[in-house]
Symmetry: C2
Amino acid sequence: MSEAAAVIVADDPVLESDFAREMVRQMRAIDTYGTYDDWPEAKILAPFVLTKAMRREIPIVGDPDEVTMSRVSAYYNAIAATIESRCGLMAVPMIHLSHEGFGRALITVGKLVVMDKTLRDVHRFGFPELAKMKEDAEKLVDKAAQLIETYPDVANL
Amino acid sequence: MSEAAAVIVADDPVLESDFAREMVRQMRAIDTYGTYDDWPEAKILAPFVLTKAMRREIPIVGDPDEVTMSRVSAYYNAIAATIESRCGLMAVPMIHLSHEGFGRALITVGKLVVMDKTLRDVHRFGFPELAKMKEDAEKLVDKAAQLIETYPDVANL
């Protein structure tokens, strides 16, 4: 992981964003043994960045391992937490993966599905750069917030 | 499974119901090797019935095996299919299980969550009698249909 750690510079301004902070919080939450305790944020989030060259090294077809799966969970948990803090309503993530990394990620608020994403190639989960991760997540959060605003009754069920 | 086969009599009128027929269809759909081809319906649905005595034989804590999991899927798939044929809108089931058989079963229609059930003790999944299975399922379908009627916009998203 020493190469991976270099893909995010320690003073990347994205690290200061709410979403990156939430991601770090989620990663620390699943870090049972306190491995990340003295890691800088750039190092904790480094595995989420997969440059083109890094992606090329990973086989096209493969089963996601548990570490990758926990990263995918951390990402969607962070999105759910962000929706929750934005809208003040509980947002519940649910991820379903079949073999070979295909699946579906869902976030519900009340009886409203505020995010519904088909997952593919989960074993190669990652973003070309940290800024792209934040950008994608914010788009999903915005769309969710819009849906909640349009259908408050259903979101409050 | 020879004892289990006896828990449903071959002329049980419940076997003629739409839901039982749908359940048989779902079970046949996952029967890759055609094992059920010449089985009567009562025998195909027998594993869904767990009498008190049978339940007592199963340990309280346990991991659900694949066969049990596929039965749980067949049940919620049948509910989704029934909702679909009743409302004319696609109903998508999603089951998420963590270890020890805890989890959540969800059915969505459009952006509407029409069924949301917490699963417990999935390794002991079953109903005291066939009529109870049908009754429970019909309650879930009715509730779903009601939700779709109340929020057609969201169900059509």
